[in-house]
């Protein structure tokens, strides 16, 4: 079955900007509730994130100690904050590259999504982001509390820094799902995207600074990392939240995130347009 360029984005339920916001707000809320439905999964994720957190803190603080109390601009408190904040964000920022959409493209049920009078990219992203934001409650907050209580992590509490930190974290979550959408949407051409998904998982985690802060990279690798959107997924929000980067530099870092969000959205939009002409659902 081939789909002709359908009624999508012309009129429909999301015709006006207000209607668009209302529909996507509902999708965001439904994603949030969907996340809330799997409490066991959230608990499992928390246990995994905490365990990795302790392992990361041990090796990173040992490295700081071996470096004479300072390593690439990180002292012990800064590296502890880095380790726990990265674990706290991990439940919400998609560094795994997996989404339901990839499966829906593979098994053909994406045809139903394309028939809806909604943009597939914005609709799936809204739902996924809603689900991810819920994860901040069972997986993000407890880890931050743990980091403060057990790890001795200190965080800035002045409202502007806090607000900018939250904005940066939100942008990281949205960016991650826009990037993962690109991985899934490549399935319009390749059907099976597992290989690409794994590639995304490896590259994004490393260049986002999941195990080692990007700022510790040698200069050539650092240059390579900052040429990609991945540092905007962890390194940037962590730097902004922890106050390691502040003032104009923090605003600049968030600006870079906004630019990557816009770029990822634009590429995804073009891919969706081209992909719906390319899509062939077998047996439909």
């Amino acid at each position: 079955m081939r789909l002709s360029p359908g009624p999508q984005r012309r009129g429909g339920v999301a015709g006006t900007p207000r209607a668009w916001l209302r529909v996507h707000g509902r999708l965001l809320a439904s994603g949030f509730r969907r996340g809330a439905a799997y409490r066991g999964a959230a608990l499992g994720g928390l246990v995994a994130n905490v365990t990795f957190g302790f392992l990361k803190v041990s090796v990173l603080t040992a490295a700081v100690a071996a470096g004479g109390g300072e390593l690439g601009g990180y002292d012990e408190a800064a590296i502890v904050a880095y380790a726990w904040l990265s674990q706290a964000l991990l439940g919400s920022v998609n560094l795994f590259g997996r989404t339901d959409l990839a499966d829906r493209i593979k098994d053909g049920s994406v045809a139903v999504d394309l028939l809806r009078p909604l943009d597939v990219q914005t609709a799936t992203t809204a739902q996924e982001v809603g689900r991810a934001l819920f994860q901040l409650l069972p997986r993000g907050l407890p880890i931050i509390v743990l980091g403060v209580l057990v790890g001795g992590m200190r965080l800035p509490t002045d409202p502007p820094t806090l607000a900018l930190g939250l904005l940066s974290a939100l942008l990281a979550v949205v960016l991650s799902y826009l990037l993962v959408y690109l991985v899934a949407a490549s399935g319009f051409w390749t059907v099976e995207t597992r290989g690409l998904q794994v590639l995304y998982m490896i590259v994004s985690g490393f260049l986002a600074g999941l195990f080692v802060p990007v700022t510790l990279f040698p200069s050539w690798l650092y240059a390579l990392a900052v040429a990609t959107p991945f540092p905007s997924l962890l390194q940037v929000p962590i730097d902004v939240i922890s106050g390691r980067v502040d003032g104009a530099a923090a605003l600049g870092a968030v600006g870079v995130q906004v630019a990557w969000v816009a770029a990822a959205f634009a590429v995804g939009h073009l891919m969706t347009r081209a992909g719906r002409r390319r899509l062939e659902v077998q047996g439909g």
Partner: protein, 289 residues
């Protein structure tokens, strides 16, 4: 249903056939499944090639993470870069080999949720054996290659007093570590019967274990030593054998002579694994089909 699981796999074999023929007959259905899985995995050629490349890349990235840390320090937890390369090589080779043969048992929650596990009960073969042979993760082959390369380089750059005993020790350690990780996968799968949705909880131990295995255990605090030193004997898979081999001092609570006891860790893990698996299977009530 449960007694079907216990049905012996002797159908078709006769008392007069040799043990070898019996083994071949026992192995035939597993081989058929595995051959089909190999064909299935290689059918999306592009994706499979990318999978193989990705596995290499994962290994390289993990090495890079270690290297980035060691760029600014001489030693971490008493291990220099050469020693930690050896730890990484042993841990990664063992984990990837276990993952290749057994790793897919972590898809059990998917079968549990979909109710498709019951299909396995209809076949006259042991459940665990079926699950283990239901898949072979071929893409791990290249990952083992990375581990073996790191191991070879690690063995070359460290000052090792070679002797037949050292060779035997390394072979035993690799075997024991692979078994330990395989047991870890099975133990995690057994717990899945209770967790179902919370499957990520066992990832803390399995994949957390893989990460922990490449670390010098000497940097751990007491809770981590209790968890990954003894309860889940990850320190025995690579760190302790390496400090024993290189004659380095071990850590508090983890003296280096414990490295000689790597096989005990495998035995302990498998005892826990089989107990977890048995308890899980007995707990399972069927998918309602």
């Amino acid at each position: 249903m449960a007694d079907l699981d216990q049905a012996p796999a002797r159908a078709g074999t006769r008392r007069s056939t040799t043990a070898l023929a019996a083994l071949a007959a026992w192995w035939r259905p597993y081989r058929a499944v595995l051959t089909s899985r190999v064909r299935a995995q290689t059918s999306y050629r592009g994706s499979f090639a990318l999978d193989l490349a990705s596995s290499v890349l994962i290994g390289l990235v993990e090495l890079a993470e270690i290297w980035v840390l060691y760029r600014s320090v001489d030693a971490l937890g008493g291990l220099d870069l050469a020693a930690v390369l050896l730890v990484f090589g042993i841990a990664d080779t063992a984990f990837s080999t276990a993952d290749l043969f057994v790793g897919h048992v972590d898809t059990l929650p998917r079968y549990l949720r979909a109710g498709t596990l019951d299909v396995f009960y209809l076949r006259p073969q042991p459940l665990l054996a079926q699950l283990v042979t239901s898949e072979i993760s071929l893409r791990r082959v290249t990952r083992i290659g990375v581990g073996l390369t790191a191991l070879a380089v690690g063995l070359a750059v460290n000052d090792i007093a070679w002797s037949p005993l050292v060779v035997a020790f390394l072979v035993v350690v690799l075997l024991a570590s692979t078994l330990t990780f395989a047991g870890l996968f099975v133990a995690a799968a057994g717990v899945q019967f209770f967790l179902v949705d919370a499957s990520e909880m066992t990832n803390a131990v399995v994949y957390g274990g893989r990460y922990a295995a490449t670390q010098p255990a000497s940097v751990w605090g007491k809770p981590l030593v209790a968890l990954f030193g003894f309860a889940v004997p990850i320190a025995f898979t690579a760190y302790l054998p390496v400090v024993a081999l290189l004659g380095l001092p071990g850590a508090e609570w983890l003296p280096s002579w414990l490295g000689w006891l790597a096989p005990l860790a495998a035995v302990w893990t498998w005892a826990v694994a089989l107990l977890a698996w048995r308890t899980g299977v007995r707990h399972y009530q069927g998918g309602g089909g």
